[in-house]
Symmetry: C2
Subunit: 239 residues, 2 copies
DNA sequence: TTTTGTGACGTATGATCACAATTTGCCTAG
DNA sequence: CTAGGCAAATTGTGATCATACGTCACAAAA
């Protein structure tokens, strides 16, 4: 009867609610590695920290728990999940699979404007690289990949990709703190070339290389070392 | 208008929290197609329905919104998302990719006991097929696939796969209601054979066939028909 | 007849309260 | 000095209250 007038509300609604703000802050903190693995969280503590009542925090934390960004233990406690070697390998193989899939599906929508935007991000990454700005590098890398995948207007995999980034965030910090350097080899140029050429094969290869050359190598090394020297169940590290 | 089963999955175990129960019921209702697309939901309405205060409902609804199972509109309204042809294709190709990935990663952990358990589920599916029990068929199909993927103890893709099922649930009901029959061709036998043979190639093929022979065909047909009689040569979709 | 302003009503939201469960610290007994 | 248990503090959970915002209906003016 009246369902045809779809009325696309293009108006961008401000995420003005407190709960949304808390959610964003917490999520961003986890994804950029501001919270270490195995950090225990309390709703009241976070509420104090963010100067609001427990209610918005509670809901934000729940949302993050469904994304596997926060682990809710049976005994009513929650914490940032720990990382194991097996889980790490599993997550990275999944990441390669999903991101390659999302990337290839972008090709029909690639345009000069799109590529131009990506190049702009890549330029900023080069700047962050020379100033050794690790945080900026992480954020920009996410921005770059997100911009690629979101080029597909019907994109369905983005929430899952973000969920993976979220699960990797805390561990990334752990590696950095452990003193392990990881070399950032810029595969973005290859991604851009594959996009320009509309070459799905080359694109998948470039995406996989970019992911595997990132924290994957040093992360794997870190977990192997830890497994080796942890004959007694030792606390991984303490901030 | 919804709860017709007493949560068959989580029968007596874990009386846990009210919020968890509400979450499970809502989630199950959506996944099995008890809620039609574009159904608008109100927190208070659901609270009345489940005989509890708005608080647990609010949190459950938020969790579901992060899984794209419920769409939160800017104007403080929420509803079950609508389905479009483009979104449908996107979701299904993603589903094939992720489920194939998860299935292949199961092979190192396959054992006779595992296969036996899967055969048991498959037998029950055959029974549901002859009695034309659509709901049972849907639930058992999910159980089967879940059992396959969860064979990998370090499984990381399951939450994402469930999220996809969740997004497909409401639309599945829409197809059934429209009178379109969909033929269920039993590809589970082929999946089982590939598992027994530890054949990754055959397994991926079987998984893809199982998914594409399910509601995919009739769902696609339904959306094509709807698009045809809706607007002959208008702009396909808004952004 | 159409458009616009104003009011009432309903709803989400966040704070606060009361309660239950769990953890932590301390004290006592062995 | 260690193990066990009791008590207080801490924390999550659900209900309720106050408030802000959106929606709808009705009326008045163009």
């Amino acid at each position: 009867m009246d369902e045809q007038a779809e009325m696309p509300d293009i108006a961008v609604r401000s995420p003005s609610t407190e709960q949304e703000a808390v959610f964003r802050r917490l999520r961003s903190a986890i994804m950029t590695g501001n919270l270490a693995p195995e950090t225990t969280l309390t709703i009241r503590g976070l509420a104090d920290l963010m100067a609001c009542s427990p209610t918005p925090v509670r809901e934000a934390v729940r949302r993050l728990s469904t994304e596997s960004a926060i682990e809710v233990l049976g005994n009513r406690r929650m914490r940032v999940p720990a990382m194991t070697l097996a889980k790490f390998e599993e997550i990275f193989s999944l990441r390669v699979t999903i991101e390659s899939h999302a990337a290839v599906r972008v090709l029909p929508y690639v345009s000069d404007v799109i590529i131009e935007g990506l190049e702009r991000i890549d330029t900023r990454m080069d700047e962050a690289l020379v100033t050794d700005d690790q945080l900026g590098l992480t954020v920009l890398n996410h921005d770059f990949h997100r911009a690629v995948y979101m080029t597909n207007p019907h994109q369905a995999a983005m929430p899952m990709i973000e969920s993976i980034w979220l699960q990797l965030g805390p561990f990334q910090r752990q590696i950095l703190q452990s003193g392990l350097e990881f070399y950032v080899i810029d595969r973005h140029k290859e991604i851009l070339r594959a996009l320009r050429d509309r070459d799905p094969g080359a694109l998948a290869v470039a995406i996989e290389a970019d992911i595997r050359d990132g924290i994957y190598r040093s992360g794997r090394q870190y977990l192997l070392d830890r497994a080796k020297l942890s004959s007694p169940s030792q606390v991984p590290y303490g901030p």
